[in-house]
Amino acid sequence: AEVEKDLEAAKPALIEAESALNAIKPDDIKNLKALKNPPDVIKIIFDGVLILKRGPMLKCQMVDIKGFACYKDNYSEASKMMNDSNFLASLQQFPKENITDEDCELLTPYTDHGLFTVEAAAKASGLAVGLCKWVKAMKTYHEIAKVVIPKMD
């Protein structure tokens, strides 16, 4: 029972992520695809999604985005991901139990970044907010579950 209570701690983040994803409409993706050069905040957030989905990533090449040091984006891969009509469903059904410590470590340079915030995402689009919350919630879930689940054995 103690253990279940600990896992409860991850619930608010998961519920928020779920409703954030549900708030994304298919049109949001269509509109985003129509943009030739989407805002940087969107590119950074999509890189976070790519890492969780273990998609291909470029090497860590440093670029400057409005005074923030940052990695060159992988937006061409992200675009491919969006072309999949099941993209949103794949996030809703994402097997969060399979996230590894390594996945979280690879995510950290992104989630710690000044542009990887709900506030920055909100200036771009509702889609960005939804994905930003989702990535953060997946990381939170893993960080709580990795402490709690071993106690269940």
């Binding site: 440093m62 470590e105 690879l106 340079p109």
Partner: protein, 196 residues
Amino acid sequence: MTVGPQTSIKDAIKNFETKWNCVASEESKVLLYGQLPPVVKMDNTLGTLKACKHLSLSSNCIEKIAGLKGLEQLEVLSLGRNQIKKLEGLDDVASTLKELWISYNLLDKLNGIEKLTNLTVVYMSNNLIAKWTEFDKFKELPNIEELLFVGNPLWEVHTKSDDYRINVAGRIPWLKKLDGVPVDDDEREGGKALGL
């Protein structure tokens, strides 16, 4: 080849100490990941990390594994998202190393892994392993329990032909978890039937 800006191991250690207000040589977990500009070279400065059990150097541009002499307690080595082509320079930590995290690199061969017989966890998604003859070097690891292999060319081909998991289970029947999902008895049976 032009040499761009890079962070030395010495400076990466300083950044870690400043960020966490600690003395790196006393820490069991030393986090040097995601340096901007990236770390390109591992060097002997790492050997000063005497208490280090978990060393993280992921999200950099390291091309070669080196400088691990002196890390006598190292159990987890995290090198994901670098530019590493070979498993080398690991002899000094082979007797203690339990987990190797090396996803998003350029490994096309596994030569050298056979010396790391204490490994229980190998994360190596998104590398360049394309042949079962390479993959079969995992058979030399009697203690391996968990493997992450998605995103390798071999994974890609056999995911399409839908015989990936049984092929792995047939080769390493003692593996407990593959790509985050437990290996089950049906998969082991299926693998056995392949007669590998």
